[in-house]
Subunit: 410 residues, 2 copies
């Protein structure tokens, strides 16, 4: 972020007054204002945060630039977002998950990935860029899906259970895809032996943590927390562990957010409600900076080219259709109507799709126009899903279960 | 913060890996580790956070430098710390507060302020520097006081009630003193008319917010929060208001943290327990960066001069004695023993004293050695008080009231 030098705010930057509160106010306040506007237009609030970045950023009013401080705050934000998602994912529940959810998630990952790769390759894009687009099309956002189902009061419906379970598996598969793909980007597509090692290291890291981390943490964390005299010892242990796992992930060649997600999943079984709320507070503060930073990086100029617009529409159509059909086919044993609900519920991509695009952009694996297309796809699937779900769940009575705050991550 | 270039960490900075998680881990992890160590030595955890900064900073291991990012995170941390303190201060309770607490707080503000000013003036320091030292000696830390009383289980004792009420008044008086003093530092000590205007503006701002803010917020905030469809609308409104008030304060010539404190106090009457916990989560994440940043700025070299050591010991002795006697005299109607407990309970200065010193340093009003003396005073009063309280409360039975998490701000 830079100081304000926009004419409209010039009166504010007179003198030597501390400008940090104003910068925080503009980013946080706009993100929340437009999140509210998005909610009123029946869209997830996450869309508002993204648009806020575009509005106040270089492609809009030009009040805020993307600099070192905002980059760091955005990274903290996305680490806390994925840590929160991880805290909702109990490894033990993953192991108990039904065939329907697993099949639905797997087909819902394979089809979009293949379609994205194929469309990009057919359009003549480089191999690594095509793979990144496929990867960006993989991950359904647990938060957005859960938010829509909770606000409709149908979380107790059997399709909602399948969607939630499948979305969790999908998230793990998507993060695995991201781990592999980001190490491919780092290897430069040439050093295949190194790539195999990197991939193996990242898979071993992920699988070892997922398989043994929870059991170990289940023994170590409660004892450690209880033995500490520190205030809010559980939060201190959890956040230190989050930063530790993010660091290990980063130095293992995996994205830091993979470590953040795994840290959350490892702690999911033992985390208290109080820890959930504290982490949510930290996330509520930091996540708007992540969302805004994505909008800030959006270059609307990419949509001036006709071929980019055509690519964006093709990718969007493929993202919707392949996820809907893939997840629906996996859940066809529930009957046509419920399979369709599951498929539609899995359509919204969100932060994870944009994270993949951001990782690809940062690694130089994808170009600015392709990044714009991926962000367009992630935002539009998120915008399109809620009204479709509204239609498909018409007549389904709202269940007795109250909206649990812990799954409202959108 | 800069990248790690210390030999011990050189292996980590090889390659282009993302170093932010490592930086966060070092600052947050060390702050929590030493906070735990401090607790085990029967000191408030806040001391550990300060020492952590000194250990990892330029005067210690040299792993972390004080740069733009850490400065911003530290400022966010102190804004959330004072916002949290504000949330504990209900303006309505301030108005209902007993004579004992008011008298105790007032004498406990006046005596240290006068003593600090006098000692500095006698030692030949400039007027503004002398006044700043007096101001730094004013504020008792609510958090540290409450933490000590809660951990001893004597929060229901009548002296504890007086200490808590007096500490709240003391905090407000201390922030008023800071407002006046920081505007004096800005005026440069020459423009008396401008100073009078600035002082008037800051007092009007503070008084208007304290007097009318709560009533207005009591009507506006719940309606606004209820009308919003945003997730965690109360948090979004509260934090936007926090940044808004901090900005208005900064542009009114008052420190941003004064605005943060007032924002908290305005919302104290209407804040839900859920908001308290969310804000606490954000604070738990950010405050260690504030504490560490103070330690990072500590220059141990100042204590190589004999005259500085003499000044530091004189200021520390005055800070302990004047607060103890001032607050004790104000509470003498409770009898000698309880008056002594009240006085001792008010001795620990904490974050507020260091904030005053930091404001003075940033404004160029105080020199580095005097800043070092103020930090020494704030840290040492905090370290000395708990064992003294331990002795004075020997034989007082622990009350039935459980430790309330909302007052544990240390």
């Amino acid at each position: 972020m830079t100081l304000f030098n926009h004419p409209m705010l010039a009166f504010l930057s007179a003198g030597e007054a501390d400008t940090l509160p104003l910068q925080m106010l503009v980013v946080f306040g706009f993100a929340k204002l437009l999140a509210e506007a998005a909610q009123r237009l029946r869209m997830p609030g996450i869309v508002g945060g993204l648009v806020a970045g575009a509005v106040i950023g270089p492609s809009g009013l030009g009040w805020i630039q993307y600099g070192e401080l905002l980059h760091a705050m955005a990274e903290l934000g996305v680490m806390f977002l994925l840590f929160q998602v991880g805290l909702e994912v109990k490894a033990s529940e993953l192991l108990r998950v039904g065939k329907v959810a697993l099949l639905s998630a797997s087909l819902g990952v394979a089809l979009p990935f293949a379609a994205g790769w194929a469309i990009m390759a057919a359009a003549g894009h480089p191999r690594i860029e095509s793979i990144f687009m496929g990867a960006a099309m993989v991950a359904t956002s647990v938060g957005i899906t859960a938010h829509v189902l909770a606000s409709k009061g149908v979380l107790s419906h059997r399709t909602a259970q399948v969607i939630l379970a499948a979305a969790v598996i999908d998230d793990v598969l998507g993060l695995l895809v991201l781990a592999v793909v980001s190490s491919m980007a780092k290897a430069g597509g040439a050093d295949w032996a190194g790539l195999a090692v990197t991939t193996a290291v990242s898979i071993v890291f992920v699988v070892a943590v997922a398989k043994y981390g929870t059991r170990t943490a289940g023994i170590v964390v409660p004892r450690l927390t209880q033995s500490l005299r520190l205030d809010e010892a559980e939060f201190a242990v959890a956040v230190t562990f989050l930063f530790l796992m993010a660091m290990v992930a980063a130095y293992s060649g995996v994205a830091a957010i993979v470590g953040a997600f795994l840290a959350g999943m490892v702690l999911a079984e033992t985390a208290s409600d109080h820890l959930h709320t504290l982490v949510r507070g930290a996330g509520e503060l930091m996540v708007p900076f992540f969302l805004a930073s994505i909008g800030l990086q959006l270059d609307t100029a990419v949509f001036r080219s006709g071929s980019t617009i055509a690519l964006a529409l093709a990718i969007l159509a493929a993202a919707v259709i392949t996820k809907w059909i893939g997840c629906g086919l996996g859940a066809i044993s529930l009957g046509y109507q419920d399979a369709s609900r599951v498929g539609a519920g899995m359509v919204p991509r969100g932060e994870v799709g944009m994270v993949v695009a951001q990782v690809g952009l940062a690694a130089g694996a994808i170009s600015q126009p392709v990044y714009g297309v991926a962000v367009f796809m992630a935002v539009m699937t998120t915008i399109l899903a809620p009204p479709v779900l509204n239609f498909l769940y018409k007549g389904v009575p709202a269940g007795p279960r109250p909206t649990p705050p812990s799954v409202e991550l959108g």
